[in-house]
Amino acid sequence: MKKIVGNDRTIEIRGLVKEYTKGVPVLKGINLTIPGDGITAIIGPSGTGKSTLIRCINRLIDPTEGEIIFQGRDLAKLSGASLRAARRQIGMVFQEYNLVERLTVMENVLTGRLGYVSAFNAWLRRFPAADIAEAFALLEAVGLSNFTYQRADGLSGGQRQRVGIARAIMQRPEILLADEPTSSLDPKTSVEIMEIMANLAGSRGIPVIVNIHNVALAKRFCQRMIGMNGGQVVFDGTPAELTDAALNTIYGGENWLE
């Protein structure tokens, strides 16, 4: 296993609190260092704040309190242009793919470059030649080069998620967030999607943070496991350290383990 070293892509989360309703925190003061390489899994029961945590990083959700330090900036404090500049360095893969249904596969992939292309050029669908070449290469890599001009709503779940991954990688991100990327997919496709994500991110040295429900899948692909329960981090270690006892702490009960 790779040794975890602090580098410039490490995320430092300090005292992160999120309250959707005042006085009812979903995240209850998260303190966490997420390594700047490899794949980190966040596991835990539904409704425990995993999605909220991951969405606080790219500020699709605004945290109530706390700091998220990434490359010397506090992501929690950004707004306007500086927030957009930070977002374009953070790729995201969604549980329900979140492709723009009526755009073609190519348009969806190039959406990953919108943070870099002026709005005027984006409206006219004018992207730099290098971006277009990379988009074709990524579609090839995820096995969808035959679907370039097809509308996203005609694709299957697995195909959509591949487009979602290509779109996120297209940002040439410093870090990749994945919010339950396999939860809507069958077991075989789930493995394929995790493989594609691990390969594309790994070959580019992009660290990945993934929320995931499938513990076996997480153990197979991730070098680091973070367990959450009730809005708090209750486990932080390697897959080998994730024993049944640890799973018991994370999910509670034990009958389901058999």
Binding site: I90, V100, L114
Partner: protein, 315 residues
């Protein structure tokens, strides 16, 4: 209960019905609705009496109507009349086209400004107020105001129809935007895109086909309205229609009415065809260019999509 079962004919097939079938009502009486209906009936009777809507009045009108219809036919399509009709219809069409184009151009941004999920309240509410004002008057009333303001002619007509288009398209467009899927928008925002890029890639693709539907419907409506606003002097065939009425030139009136009917029918066929081209599918236009007629709807089997793609790749 057992004794009851024997007497219940519904239990022949073995089903056990423990309750008396007549004791429960499947629907509740809606007394407010009944009383409201009765009140409406009484008011209609009273108002009819007030307005002298009686059978005697109606039948005396019928003889007048017979004379009028007798003078309508045959329609007068004599050469100089036909020329007037063509000139009037041409102006009506021009008013409708120009008004629709201007109306679309204005309704698009106003509709976006009025969408509460895109805009802060201090932008959305003034935009919604503007739309509400545009909607409050009938085109003819607006046309009268424009005729008084800018004088007789097509300019007044175009102005009146543009106001109507803003009221209709912008309102429906804003509502369409408010119904879009936030997930698709979220993904575009997550890429670091600015507002206008999010609009172009996350919002408009979701609503553009509906917008085109509204716009083509508005064109239909504008054609009809453009034949009518001439009655108050705002240009188009309506001017000829009104003056023909005033000269009791009824056979010419009939010719004009027939022409308007033909125009509206033709326009409806054309815009219906245009709508079917656009309906729910902007990208399909690309498929037409690629000759992929077999790509029907989004969720047909992927095997079929694969086949069409392969054909495309081979060509």
């Amino acid at each position: 209960m057992v004794a009851k079962i024997g007497s219940n004919e519904f239990c022949m097939n073995g089903l056990i019905n423990n309750t008396n079938p007549s004791s429960r009502k499947p629907f509740q009486a809606n007394w407010p609705l009944r009383l409201g209906g009765l009140a409406l009936l009484i008011y209609v009777a009273w108002a009819s009496a007030q307005l002298d809507i009686t059978w005697a009045r109606f039948s005396s009108g019928l003889t007048q109507a017979a004379k009028f219809f007798d003078r309508l036919f045959p329609p007068n399509f004599a050469a100089e009349k036909a020329e007037m009709i063509v000139a009037g219809l041409t102006e009506s069409i021009q008013i409708a086209v120009v008004a629709t184009a201007l109306g679309i151009a204005l309704a698009l941004p106003i509709g976006i400004l009025a969408a509460r999920n895109l805009m802060p309240a201090w932008v959305a509410w003034p935009a919604r107020a503007l739309i509400a004002v545009c909607r409050s008057f009938h085109e003819v009333v607006v046309a009268i105001i424009f005729v008084k303001a800018v004088g007789f002619g097509a300019v007044a007509g175009v102005g009146a129809l543009v106001v109507g288009a803003i009221g209709f398209i912008a309102k429906l467009f804003a509502e369409a935007i408010e119904e879009i899927s936030p997930k698709q928008v979220e993904a575009v925002r997550a890429s670091g895109a600015g507002f206008f890029s999010v609009l172009a890639y996350g919002v408009l693709p979701q609503v553009m086909s509906r917008f085109l539907g509204f716009a083509s419907y508005q064109f239909d409506a504008n054609l009809r309205a453009s034949t009518m606003i001439g009655i108050v002097g705002a240009g188009g065939i309506g001017v000829s229609l009104m003056s023909a009425f005033q000269r009791f030139d009824y056979d010419f009136v009939c010719a004009i009415l027939i022409s308007i009917i033909l125009l509206v029918v033709v326009a409806e066929v054309i815009s219906g065809f245009a709508r079917s081209l656009f309906s729910g599918n902007l990208a399909r236009l690309n498929y037409f260019r690629r000759g992929q007629f077999d790509h029907q709807t989004s969720h047909q089997s992927l095997a079929k999509n694969d086949a069409s793609i392969n054909v495309n790749a081979a060509s």
